[in-house]
């Protein structure tokens, strides 16, 4: 149920991969050459920013051409021996069933440090003698560490898909999920992703999963300064720290807005902590943190900030036994979403409230509380009386329609 949408909506064929038409064409041409004999450059080096579709392109390609994909990433091949074990043999022999092999080295940038020095050399060696096509993936092909390897590879650049391409993909996912999404909402998510498709899909899932509708107001607050990857990481480190020092370190090492962090923790707690007693303790810690937030505001004494941090991080971390319940995606703080939505709503209510206030000698707030709820019921009960009062108050058509809609 809780599978990441990046996995669920992974492209099955090349044509589903968005953008990068040139790159896809180059890759196809190169792989076709293998049908006659190994081309001069026996490896491709795909490079480009994260989330531009490098890995999914290779997977879709293998699927389209019915090839067996032998893949591994940096953590699996840190040493020359490991690489030899993983790819050396694969590169020389075909598969048992005659399926052609495609060897993929993902996350090449992950090979770092002196312990791995042999790793790149080994890959370079394999590339020169391979009998099967090899594709390498890195974010930055021009890193000096790859200079030798680069000479044996054909380079293919992946560029960021356009906002429009990303937006269309998001729209497609929404329709498959049965979510009615406003184009502007998807546009904003696409813009915020800055060409990173994976992050756009993750955002969409966090914002829209389980909802019927996604409006612009639901996502408008997104333009906050903190990158969500940073927040997700801190959240995980706090929630699953299990001890005081780990949780505190998670907060101290990151430069995030603490009030926003509290909102993130508050939103996500009940999805991770299922035991009622543990949830109550963790919520109690957030309540204490908030008490200190209030004391800081009242006294302007910022030394109290440390207790605010202590309770929201260490307090929460030590409140529960960290029993995992499968993969639980982090969710955006829905309170903030409702607040920005109700901000627009409060704006409308205030405008109507001001009109009522002028006639009834009360403030807009009081009118919203004391008069508008009754006016709505009057409009349903007796449209003639309702419209008469609305005209007497001087409400315009839009205001009347809003009152009739029941808000």
């Amino acid at each position: 149920m809780n599978i990441p949408w990046t996995l669920k909506y992974r492209p099955r064929t090349l044509s589903e991969v968005i953008g990068n038409e040139d790159a896809k064409k180059k890759i196809l041409e190169w792989i076709r050459q293998w049908e006659r004999k190994p081309p001069k450059k026996r490896a491709l080096l795909l490079y480009g920013p994260p989330g531009t579709g490098k890995t999914v392109t290779v997977e879709a390609l293998a699927n389209d051409l019915n090839m067996e994909l032998v893949q591994s990433n940096a953590s699996d091949y840190r040493t020359a021996e490991a690489i030899q074990r993983f790819a050396g043999r694969s590169s020389r022999y075909g598969t048992l069933f005659g399926k052609r092999r495609l060897i993929l080295f993902d996350e090449l940038g992950g090979i770092t440090g002196s312990a791995d020095r042999g790793g790149l050399r080994e890959i370079t060696k394999i590339v020169k003698e391979t009998g099967s096509p090899i594709i390498l993936i890195a974010n930055d092909a021009y890193n000096p560490r790859f200079s030798t390897l680069r000479k044996s590879c054909q380079l293919v650049e992946f560029k960021k898909p356009t906002k429009t391409q990303i937006r269309r993909l998001l729209a497609k996912i929404c329709s498959l999920e049965g979510i009615e999404a406003e184009p502007d909402a998807l546009k904003l998510i696409a813009e915020r992703a800055r060409g990173d498709v994976r992050s756009a899909i993750n955002d969409l899932q966090a914002l829209a999963q389980g909802r019927k509708r996604l409006t612009f107001e639901d996502v408008a607050w997104l333009s906050s300064r903190d990158r969500k990857e940073v927040i997700f990481n801190i959240l995980r480190r706090i929630l699953y720290a299990g001890n005081v020092s780990g949780a505190l370190r998670a907060v101290n090492e990151a430069d995030v807005d603490l009030d926003m962090l509290l909102e993130w923790i508050y939103e996500n707690l009940p999805y991770h902590i299922k035991d009622p007693g543990e949830l109550a303790s963790a919520m109690d810690m957030l309540s204490l943190a908030d008490v200190y937030r209030g004391r800081i505001a009242a006294t302007q004494d910022w030394r109290l900030m440390r207790y605010y941090i202590d309770f929201m991080s260490a307090g929460v971390a030590t409140s529960w036994s960290r029993k995992a319940h499968g993969w639980t995606p982090f969710r955006f703080p829905s309170r903030i979403m409702s607040m920005s939505k109700s901000k627009a709503e409060r704006g409308r209510l205030r405008a109507i409230g001001l009109m009522i206030g002028r006639r009834c000698h009360i403030s807009a707030d009081r009118a919203a509380k004391d008069v508008i709820p009754f006016l709505r019921v009057i409009m349903q009960n007796n449209p003639e009386m309702g419209m008469g009062i609305a005209r007497w108050l001087g409400l315009d058509d839009e205001m009347i329609a809003y009152l009739k809609s029941g808000g």
């Binding site: 009940p270 999805y271 949830l279 109550a280 006639r359 807009a364 707030d365 709820p373 007796n382 808000g407």
Partner: protein
């Protein structure tokens, strides 16, 4: 046929029309007679006639064209003291041309102003005291700063007695040709809680159904006006639905604009009506009390009340286990 809110249609025009608040009305009438008034503070709960008294005073003082001599400002509607100061300046600078040598500025919800804003207001009051009189309207006079209080004549408004409210309901019903039953009147009085504005709004809404106004009609329109329910939120939490209860709480806070303390007061009165063991009612009360205290100190009402809901979830589980 023309329509308006009955709160306006039946608002008294002259001090003579005001029901109850006799002592206050007599003092105000003596001002009219003397053709002079001091700065005033009208303090008291909502719907007890403070604004009405101010408007009637102006009417009796200046006659039917009184609108030209008064200005109404609502402190909660104006952004900052500068707006108030500028408006007051322009209004008070010009002398009144009638036989009364000053104009009246009615500042409603004055207790919502910060103390800095009130200090600025005090200076403005002094500067224009020749040409303008201020009537400050507030729910709590205690929230008006001492230097202003000492410059104003205080008037304390109290909730109207039940028989006066019933009289008013019956008067309006007669004027509007409504059929209303005794239990209908009783229900409206109960819901109005001494607030005449709310009382009349409930009456008009019930009348808009076109049906005879009985207890059932009254409760059904009020129920439709305020659908979000504190009791339901509590039951959801006690049955283990924390996230769902939290969503209901958010609706009460954001959509219906209820204050955290209002919600807590309702939770408090609901607890005794819950079908749970007696000793748990008292245990829960202790948690509510603690939450009330934290609400005063904290900065985020939803988090404080959610923490309470989480405790309800825990209590619900313990109650079911017996």
């Amino acid at each position: 046929m023309s329509y308006e809110m009955w709160t306006e249609k039946y608002r008294p025009r002259s001090l003579d029309d005001i029901i109850d608040q006799e002592e206050i009305v007599n003092r105000l009438k003596s001002f009219v007679k003397a053709r002079n008034i001091p700065h005033c503070i009208f303090a008291g709960p909502p719907g007890t006639g403070k604004t009405t008294a101010a408007l009637c005073l102006a009417h009796d003082l200046y006659g039917p064209g009184y609108h030209e001599y008064i200005m109404e400002l609502n402190a909660s509607d104006e952004r900052g003291i500068n707006v108030v100061r500028e408006t007051v300046k322009t209004f008070a600078r010009t002398k009144s041309i009638g036989e009364v040598p000053f104009k009246i500025l009615i500042l409603d919800e004055a207790d919502n102003m910060t103390s800095d804003a009130q200090q600025a207001l005090r200076r403005t009051m002094e500067r224009y005291t020749e040409t303008a009189r201020f009537i400050l309207i507030a729910n709590y006079s205690g929230r008006i700063i001492e230097p202003i209080q000492s410059r104003c004549a205080p008037f304390r408004f109290t909730y109207l007695p039940e028989e006066q409210i019933i009289k008013r309901i019956l008067y309006i019903a007669e004027q509007e040709g409504l059929t209303i039953t005794d239990d209908g009147v009783k229900a409206i009085v109960e819901i109005g809680g001494g607030d005449l504005r709310r009382t009349i709004n409930v009456l008009q809404t019930a009348a808009s159904t076109g049906k005879p106004i009985d207890e059932e009609t009254v409760y059904s329109v009020v129920g439709r006006a305020n659908p979000a329910d504190v009791r339901e939120m509590m039951l959801t939490a006690l049955n283990g639905g924390f996230i769902e209860a939290r969503n209901k709480l958010r609706e009460l806070l954001l959509k219906y604009g209820l204050a955290g303390s209002d919600i807590l007061a309702q939770i408090h009165s609901e607890v005794f009506r819950l079908n749970i063991p007696e000793r748990w009612k008292v245990k829960i009360m202790e948690i509510i009390g603690e939450t009330d205290y934290r609400l005063l100190q904290g900065s985020n009402e939803e988090i404080q009340l959610s923490a309470l809901l989480a405790k309800f979830v825990e209590a619900g589980e313990a109650i079911r286990r017996g």
